[in-house]
């Protein structure tokens, strides 16, 4: 029996997430950052197992401005290269303000195991650089898997930094340990619904959900929300031949709007 895997997690604590958030790109962000069971080049920053759908080499650029009034900028470059049933991905993300930067370089490898299962592993080099203070670095690992239950339903699971790689203890920046589990349900040609549970032992849990509606084949509107902290998201995506443009904005009731834009190109 098909069952809907949107389960609501009970959570009690409110904690701030320290350190950079890995930007999953406008489309996944607009869907509430619930991309653990979705696919595309931006899976490189979400659940890498979602990269296996890529047929041709693809590159993408993205930029996010956090909380409009601040100077915080997140810039990302991605590339994905398929090779037989495998896909290699490379991404570089720079987050911070002039004088304070957290950079991340990732190398991911995803493989299709059979027709229904995809798995991936990802290695990250994280570097924190503060002007006049020097820099610190740390390694971290991620792993993810996706399982296609049917043409409409996919479930995904992803684990970030299970080895608890971290910077020096004296620094107030961490690499979060996060476990995600979610589903994506394609109701018909026009509508996709997602839901994901996110667990962070240090910071509590979250439930995220989102939807993508395609009124036209090359144009889609996305919306989503997350519970903890409470945020709402919206965005749209537009494809023109090999070029894809995605844009999203995240809204936090206290902190305001964070817009972002990405351009993808399929080679």
């Amino acid at each position: 029996m098909r069952c809907l895997n949107l389960v609501i997690l009970f959570f009690f604590s409110v904690h701030l997430l320290h350190g950079q958030e890995v930007n999953p790109g406008p489309r996944f962000t607009a869907m509430g950052n619930s991309g653990v069971a979705l696919s595309g080049i931006w899976s490189l920053q979400s659940n890498q197992a979602g990269m296996t759908g890529i047929q041709h080499p693809e590159v993408a650029l993205g930029c996010e401005s956090s909380f409009l009034q601040s100077d915080i900028l997140t810039q990302t470059v991605l590339a994905a290269i398929p090779y037989r049933r495998d896909v290699f991905g490379l991404s570089m993300q720079k987050y911070g303000v002039p004088g304070y930067n957290q950079n991340r370089i990732s190398l991911a490898y995803s493989k299709r195991l059979g027709n229904e299962v995809s798995a991936a592993v990802d290695f990250n080099f994280n570097q924190l650089t503060i002007d006049k203070y020097g820099s610190a670095s740390a390694w971290s690992v991620e792993a993810g898997v996706q399982y296609r239950l049917s043409k409409e339903l996919t479930i995904g699971s992803h684990l970030s930094n299970p080895t608890r790689g971290s910077f020096d203890n004296s620094l107030n920046a961490t690499i979060p340990v996060v476990f995600e589990f979610g589903t994506s349900w394609i109701t018909n040609d026009c509508l996709t619904l997602n839901g994901a549970l996110v667990l962070d032992p240090d910071n509590g849990g979250d439930f995220r959900s989102g939807l993508e509606y395609k009124p036209l084949p090359d144009f889609s509107i996305c919306g989503g929300m997350s519970c903890h902290p409470f945020r709402e998201y919206a965005g749209f995506c537009f494809n023109y031949h090999a070029l894809g443009i995605q844009t999203a904005v995240a809204f936090h009731p206290g902190l305001g709007y964070s817009p972002q834009l990405s351009v993808c190109y399929e080679l």
């Binding site: 919306g223 409470f230 709402e232 809204f251 009731p253």
Partner: protein
């Protein structure tokens, strides 16, 4: 919190001729789950819990006089609040294009009508053979219904113990609650309605200013199909647009499901509710000229108001606040009773054709005394002076699977209020609503009930969104979110504040007799801190609640189990509340008796973690007590129908608290740890 206990006692008049009460109790309109959720939400937000009776009465009437699918009007279809704008519009498009319906079940061929909705509508609709004379001709049936209720709290409250000689505030009347309602329907055209009520503590006498009951409400209403569509003399209500300027009566605000957020104002309606304010008294009519309906209205009535001297130099008295509880128990409340006159006049014009509906209304309100300016900073923009004019434009348009609705209103003196939204039926299984509202702090209307978080419907900006998903038959998920900002101060918030609200519910009903539901709600808002300082700072307040409920039916028995946990936190302080309840509802069709009872255990740390739970009550009575502190609650309702036209029912409810020597405070305080009440009701139709 004013929780009205409405009691009905029937009086025998004579043997009936013509229509009687419905044959079995299974045909009496039972309260809908959305209405239960809505009433619990209103009670929790300390808002006036609206008298759902006007909705239930309407539906009961349609049960006994089903509507003919081929002649019903848009207003009549809008009375079924569970219908979405898509369904209503598609119904009329289908009827225009395809002609007569041959059978009620033909509704299933309409794309937007799912099986559940059709079955929900079936008891109220019929298809008449056009060859046979229309049974709703004006020579047709006259039906009368009388309902009388009596109730009383068994323990003596402090307000009744204080003797008359002591110069203190006390309840001047007896603790009895009496309510009587009388209706006459003449076919579908005329209705006469009369309501009389005395709340506990109000005096019942014929001396001085008193004329028996404390509250009377009456009206004569006519509904026609010619130029004069509606005419009401007496008490009436008006509902236009999205409720920003003129909406009196029941409204389905947040939390009841997404379709009802896109309001369908039905315009002029006779007032049949028991609420003692927010209605009009005078005359109003609706004239149809082609596709445009004009509704002029006029009202003059008295309001309860607290008066005060302006200042030491000016001894004329002005209004400091309107008393909208309708209670006249103490000397102060009695002195404030009917203290000022309120005159309202204006008109509405509305164009309705196919998928488009647009209208405008203008109203002018005049009081017999000035309203004094507020004393605090948070009420700086409240109404002051003597007059206010409100105007609004509204419109709605249905395009394919999208329904757009909007209203813009302006008050003079004052500012603007605006709301716009889209209701989208994305697929057969998924519907989404998005609504943006912005109410300026200078905007004011006494009769606005637009979608809002605050109680005034002013000084607010917000974005409300919701989704309803039915992934497979029997599984229903609803998620509603609201993000709001208050650009000005509020009571208990000394700075502009913001917050959010999330409501999510999953219902699982694998077969007809069983239902399991989970609900999670969270609300984050900002309030003044609890420090004893002159200057207060805002603190985050979180309220969460988790509920699990099962409903199952075995023959004539219905069992409901509910467990609910509520969590409250402000600053570092946290509080918890817990409720567990078991309901049994027994309505055998072979017996003249019916009964329902509940046993509930509750344990909450304090008032902040209280839990509201809707309780089954006598017909047209609604009970949503707040379970607070620690104790047990039990109630039982028994009904007996000796014959079709007569129904007797009684209720006994008791709340027993642990570890306490008194309940409540002030004039409502009771010595001891039990609080129990009794109600009896008689319904007679002839």
């Amino acid at each position: 919190m004013s929780c009205k206990l409405q009691l009905f006692v029937c009086i025998f008049f004579c043997f009936y001729e013509g229509y009687a009460l419905a044959q079995t109790d299974s045909t009496i309109e039972s309260i809908a789950p959305e209405a239960e959720t809505l009433m619990e939400q209103e009670a929790e937000d300390n808002k006036e819990v609206f008298d759902y009776a006007e909705v239930q009465e309407n539906l009961n009437y349609y049960r006994q006089h089903p509507l003919d699918l081929n002649t019903l009007t848009k207003d009549q279809l809008s009375d079924f609040y569970f219908l979405t704008p898509f369904q209503i519009n598609e119904f009329f498009r289908y009827r225009e294009r395809n002609g007569r319906f041959a059978d009620p079940l033909e509704l299933q061929t309409l794309k937007s009508f799912d099986t559940v909705t059709v079955h929900r509508l079936l008891p109220y609709i019929i298809v008449n053979d056009p060859q046979i004379l229309d049974i709703h001709s004006y020579k047709g049936s006259v039906t009368n219904e009388v309902v009388m209720t009596y109730g009383k709290l068994l323990q003596k409250q402090q307000g009744y113990i204080i003797p008359d000689t002591a110069n203190q505030n006390r309840y001047e009347g007896s603790p009895d609650h009496m309510f009587m309602r009388y209706r006459i329907h003449w076919a579908d055209r005329f209705m006469i309605s009369l309501n009389m009520e005395k709340d506990p503590g109000e005096p019942f006498s014929f001396t001085g200013h008193n004329i028996g009951f404390d509250f009377y409400s009456a009206c004569i209403s006519y509904k026609g199909t010619a130029s004069i569509r509606k005419l009401v003399i007496g008490d009436y209500s008006l509902q236009f647009g999205q409720g920003l300027a003129l909406w009196a009566g029941m409204n389905f605000n947040k939390g009841a499901g997404i379709a009802s957020v896109a309001r369908q104002g039905v315009g002029l309606k006779p007032y049949t509710s028991a609420n003692e304010c927010l209605f009009f008294r005078g005359a109003a009519a609706a004239f149809a000229l082609g596709k445009i309906t004009f509704t002029p209205f006029f009202s003059i009535k008295k309001e309860d108001a607290s008066l005060s001297v302006r200042d030491t130099l000016d001894s004329t008295r002005g209004v400091t606040s309107l008393n909208q509880t309708g209670l006249h128990r103490t000397k102060t409340e009695i002195a404030n009773h009917d203290d000022i006159f309120e005159t309202l006049y204006g008109g509405n014009a509305e164009y309705s054709s196919g998928n488009l509906r647009a209208g405008a209304n203008v109203s002018y309100l005049l009081f017999s005394r000035d309203f004094l300016p507020g004393r605090y900073l948070y009420d700086k923009f409240y109404f002051k002076g003597r007059t206010i004019a409100d105007a609004s434009f509204y419109g709605s348009y249905n395009w394919q699977n999208l329904y757009f609705f909007s209203e813009i209103a302006r008050s003079q003196p004052g500012g603007c209020a605006f709301i716009a939204g889209i209701l989208a039926s994305l697929t057969k299984q998924v519907s989404v609503i998005l609504t943006y509202r912005q109410y300026e702090k200078e905007y004011y209307s006494f009769f606005n009930q637009g979608l809002s978080e605050g109680t005034n419907g002013t000084a607010e900006k917000g974005f409300y969104s919701g989704i309803e998903v039915e992934p497979v038959s029997g599984v229903h998920l609803t998620v509603l979110t609201d993000v709001f900002q208050f650009p000005w101060l509020r009571y208990n918030a000394d700075a502009p504040s913001s917050g959010f609200e999330l409501f999510s519910q999953l219902r699982y009903s694998p077969y007809k007799n069983f239902e399991l539901s989970f609900r999670y709600k969270v609300k984050g808002s900002e309030e003044n801190d609890d420090q004893d300082e002159t200057v207060h700072f805002l603190q985050q307040v979180y309220k969460q609640s988790f509920r699990i409920e099962t409903v199952y039916r075995i023959n004539f028995l219905q069992l409901r189990n509910r467990a609910e946990l509520s969590l409250y936190s402000k600053d570092e302080k946290g509080e918890r509340g817990f409720l567990i309840a078991q309901d049994v509802i027994c309505k055998p069709s072979f017996s003249k008796f019916r009964c329902s009872f509940r046993l509930a255990l509750f344990n909450t740390d304090s008032y902040n973690s209280r839990i509201y739970s809707y309780e089954n009550d006598l017909l047209y009575s609604y009970s949503i007590p707040g379970y607070q502190d620690k104790g047990i609650r039990f109630y039982i309702n028994i009904g007996y129908r000796p014959e079709r036209s007569l129904d007797l029912s009684a209720r006994y409810a008791i709340t027993s608290y642990y570890n306490t020597e008194s309940i409540g405070s002030g004039l409502d305080a009771i010595e001891g740890h039990n609080r129990s009440e009794v109600k009896v009701q008689l319904r007679y139709a002839f």
